[in-house]
């Protein structure tokens, strides 16, 4: 029925558009009915061109006013602020160019709308002008490239660091597992061939012949100590996944058959982050939505939704199958003491398989 109604409405809309266009056509003077734009068309369309420019500006302002707060969530890693300043510098360049060029384009579209009998200016070349708009973008881009590469090198080249904590992120359809190196902070060798050992208790396929692996700790949640460099090693057992941690400005694909790397230093614990004004207002917004939904649910005789509290997330960001949208875990950033306490309470691999 809905389908039928939709189709009916669509048909009616098309019929009415056709009728309107017929009326427009008939209302024009009969003598020069042509499908080529005449002065009237140029006049109307030129003005619409100008109106469209205003539309673009209004849309931009409206979007920033209404949704500006969702842009780039509060950064929680050491390189986060570097990333953010590069982003805002680039963004302002883009914004400036966008504003100017759209204005020129649409304003010219309005200003020079055609009038019958008038002639355009025969102006086909100006080397100096063209040199200007080749050289200026080149300089601006050169600056952006250098600035970008500088930051890139800073973020991506993982240096040897004895104090760093090594953490393996292990991806599978459709969840994450986390492995810590244990006492020695060294991850034992691993391969998917060992996954079925110990009745499937070898959750990430640790090679038992490698002594480094015995004290490894495999868990289903990601705990990180604040203020310490974390060196991630990523693996996947089946298809491509991507470990995406938006608050830490961190992302790396997990590729079956190889180990990929990413490193960052978290600078705010989950608790601290929950006190950030931006996060507080986001949580408030989400809870308003959830309360609204809850009212509906209660009216239907179902249970209300629990209120939302902020947590860092590790999301899968590479299409990996049906439940791709639901492949995420919490990241808990805590003080080093809390972290040590937590990790001590976990079973090591050798204890677990016993």
């Amino acid at each position: 029925m809905t389908v039928f109604l939709t189709l009916l409405i669509l048909t009616l809309i098309s019929v009415s558009i056709w009728q309107v266009s017929k009326i427009l056509e008939l209302s024009q003077p009969k003598t020069e009915s042509t499908e080529v734009a005449d002065d009237n068309d140029n006049e109307t369309q030129g003005k619409l061109m100008f109106a469209f420019l205003i539309f673009i500006y209004i849309l931009t302002i409206f979007s920033f006013w209404k949704w500006g707060d969702v842009l780039l969530p509060e950064a929680a890693s050491e390189h986060g602020s570097e990333y953010d300043s590069l982003m805002w510098v680039t963004f302002s360049v883009i914004f400036f160019v966008q504003t100017i060029t759209q204005a020129l384009l649409h304003y010219f579209g309005y200003k020079y709308r055609g009038i019958k009998g008038q002639k355009a200016l025969f102006y086909s070349d100006n080397d100096r002008l063209e040199a200007v708009w080749t050289i200026i973008p080149t300089i601006v881009l050169a600056v952006l490239i250098l600035y970008g590469l500088y930051t890139w090198n800073d973020i991506m080249f993982v240096e040897e660091n004895e104090d760093a904590l090594v953490v393996e992120l292990y991806a599978q359809q459709f969840n994450w597992k986390v492995r810590y190196g244990g006492e020695d902070n060294v991850l034992g060798d691993a391969n998917v061939r060992f996954l079925q050992d110990f009745d499937g208790k070898n959750l990430v396929g640790i090679d038992v012949t490698d002594p480094n692996g015995l004290d490894d700790i495999v868990v289903q949640e990601l705990h990180l100590p604040v203020g310490k460099e974390i060196q991630f090693k990523m693996r996947s057992q089946d298809v491509l996944h991507s470990a995406f941690m938006p608050h830490f400005r961190a992302q790396m694909n997990c590729v079956p058959g190889m180990i990929t790397e990413f490193a960052f230093t978290p600078i705010k614990t989950t608790e601290q982050m929950r006190m950030e004004p931006d996060v507080i207002s986001k949580v408030r917004k989400i809870n308003e939505i959830r309360e609204f939904k809850s009212k509906k649910l209660i009216a239907q005789g179902e249970e209300a939704l629990e209120p939302y509290v902020f947590d860092y997330l590790l999301l899968c960001n590479k299409i990996c199958g049906a439940s791709h949208y639901n492949m995420q875990i919490k990241i808990i950033v805590e003080t080093e003491n809390e972290f040590n306490k937590w990790i001590k309470s976990q079973q090591t691999f050798s204890q677990f398989i016993q």
Binding site: T2, S21, L48, V70, I94, R193, G257, Y325
Partner: protein, 596 residues
């Protein structure tokens, strides 16, 4: 009769060989008919592709709500009218494949390269009419294969349009990676063969069959764009073919090109030593130039339409040609910017950042030249002109965000989010579609001897233009908020709940845009049969196609092919009464040809 021999006798030449319905409308070797076949097939695929996007937009705005339309169109894949997650992924995948390859590559380039190359360079047909015909029918076959994949038991390919293995290689990984994926790969292989035959033909035709006086520096920018596009296609499409063949081998013959160390569904697979990253390299070696295969013809069309309707020479012809060549060259060495976080060496990432951002320079030159072309023009705001101006607008808006995505550092946090979706839809999707529409409105009289209704054209443009920004502008925001693309729903956990209303806004705009395309479709079909009859040169244009008679026959011109005496952009040239001087008009005594 082959095209070479047609060109050889330039003398008065009429064709009297008999044409049956089959040779005229079905297995035609006439480039004009083949162009129309491409256009109509492309539009048909476009309807499917756009309809799919509307379906998954409904799901995104109102997740897991039952819709009657899902029940009707998706049947068992939408139990009780609620879309299944696998089907969501399949729709996204096939939407991408159809729009990129079938609509914007074949539908756009196939149509206008075929129609315009011979007509604008003054040739009686393509170099090989036969290859041209085979090219179209291979394309048709690949369309049939792609559509047939929608009807297989487990559903069509669903691994994203990039079909990265292992997801696409292992039927255990998702239902779409079974027969559906096989059909996808075979369809693409056939498509590539079609595209190569077409491209070779375009290149040979442009090089060999230009009429007297049509030097390369007098070629209209449309032909330049089609010519360079064809070269990019020849260079990069074979690499995709090899990727597809290797993937077929991995899937069906147990090789391990892209697979290694896989455990799935309780089973260790035998694959050893391959790498999905290799596939990514091969795929994007085509995948990135593909963007320009889609975009350059649209820019070529824009150059022609802008100059004609501004009644002004295109500004900086030489720079325009140079930037087309620069973009073409750079496009083949930037593919790695799709792989900054694929596990590739970060140093390689720096190199690709450098080459990628370089591409912004020729692109900026093009945008500025377009804007200057409008300056002090006498703009005839026909629907084609509006779409061309619209193209410049979306090309700028979408292109600028490329500076963020092309920067490896910034890519880290926006990679594979809706920010990317917004970027490439504006810069290549919408821009190329606008190019297609501009081309259709502008050359409709050439193709169908009738004019399209301009008022419907205006409605079509303005609704589409508003909706295009309405759909894609907000997407930048949800992308920067960290929302990953290809999520069946983003309300499964509360973190993104505050973005739900933005999704509703986007979907509403998308639905309105969909309806606006019906206006175009109606206008297209109605005008084909009942449109106002056209004059020979309705837009008072300079290029050669408008010197050919209105009626179509194999060979394009009665009698001699016109000779060319000037470039295509002598609009409003001082010393002439009219504001245009067609290319076949000899220079007056003492008149200087522009040195360009």
């Amino acid at each position: 009769m082959s095209a070479e021999s047609i060109n050889m006798h330039e003398e008065d030449h009429e064709h009297h060989h008999k044409e049956t319905f089959i040779t005229k409308y079905v297995f035609s070797q006439d480039h004009k008919m083949i162009a129309k076949q491409y256009l109509i097939t492309g539009l048909f695929m476009g309807i499917i592709g756009i309809a799919m996007s509307l379906l998954f937009r409904l799901q995104l705005a109102w997740p897991e709500k039952p819709f009657g339309i899902f029940d009707l169109l998706l049947g068992k894949w939408a139990p009780d009218g609620v879309m299944d997650p696998n089907v969501y992924l399949a729709l996204v995948t096939i939407h991408g494949t159809i729009m990129v390859f079938f609509v914007l590559t074949a539908g756009l380039s196939g149509t206008f390269s075929n129609l315009l190359i011979p007509l604008q360079i003054g040739a009686r047909d393509m170099a090989s009419g036969l290859l041209n015909m085979i090219s179209f029918w291979l394309f048709f076959l690949s369309c049939v294969l792609m559509i047939s994949s929608l009807f297989v038991e487990a559903g069509p390919a669903a691994a994203g349009w990039t079909v990265y293995p292992p997801l696409s290689a292992l039927p255990q990984a998702q239902p779409g990676s079974g027969v559906g994926m096989t059909l996808w790969l075979v369809s693409m292989a056939v498509f590539i063969a079609s595209s190569l035959l077409g491209s070779l033909n375009y290149v040979v035709t442009v090089i060999n069959l230009r009429t007297k006086g049509m030097t390369m520096s007098r070629l209209p920018l449309t032909v330049w764009a089609f010519f360079v596009t064809a070269i990019i296609g020849i260079v990069s499409f074979p690499v995709l073919l090899s990727a597809a063949l290797l993937l077929i081998m991995d899937r069906s013959f147990g090789t391990s090109f892209f697979l290694s160390d896989i455990f799935i569904q309780g089973e260790v697979l035998h694959y050893q030593g391959g790498s999905p990253v290799l596939y990514e390299h091969l795929f994007w070696f085509l995948g990135h130039p593909e963007v320009y295969i889609v975009l350059l013809p649209a820019l070529g069309i824009t150059s022609e339409v802008l100059a004609t309707n501004a009644r002004k020479p295109i500004f900086g012809y030489r720079a325009m040609v140079a930037s087309i060549l620069a973009i073409a060259f750079l496009s083949t060495i930037v593919w790695g910017h799709h792989m900054f976080i694929s596990g590739m060496n970060p140093f390689l990432g720096s190199v690709f950042t450098f080459t990628t951002l370089l591409i912004a320079i020729p692109s900026a030159v093009k945008a500025f030249n377009y804007i200057t072309t409008l300056w002090k023009g006498n703009l005839q705001l026909n629907p084609a002109m509006l779409f061309s101006i619209g193209l410049v607008s979306t090309f700028i808006s979408g292109g600028l965000t490329g500076i963020i995505l092309g920067d490896s550092t910034l890519d880290i946090n926006v990679h594979d989010t809706y920010f990317v979706v917004a970027h490439f839809h504006l810069v290549m999707g919408i821009s190329a579609l606008y190019g297609l529409f501009a081309g259709v409105y502008h050359w409709f009289p050439k193709m169908f001897r009738r004019m399209m209704n301009k008022n419907l054209g205006y409605i079509h443009f303005w609704v589409t233009a508003i909706c295009a920004y309405g759909v894609f502008f907000p997407m930048h925001f949800i992308g920067m908020a960290g929302l990953p693309r290809r999520y069946y729903t983003n309300t499964n956990f509360p973190y993104f709940d505050d973005l739900a209303n933005i999704n509703v806004v986007i979907t509403v705009f998308a639905l309105i845009a969909g309806v606006a395309q019906l206006v175009f479709l109606y206008n297209f079909i109605y005008s084909m049969f009942y449109g106002k009859k056209t004059e020979q040169n309705p837009w008072r244009s300079n290029t050669l196609e408008w010197t050919a008679p209105i009626e179509h026959f194999h060979g394009n011109w009665h009698g001699k092919i016109p000779h060319v005496h000037r470039w295509a952009y002598d609009y409003s040239k001082p010393g002439y009464k009219e504001d245009f001087v067609p290319q076949n008009i000899p220079l007056k005594k003492g008149e200087e040809e522009l040195q360009h």
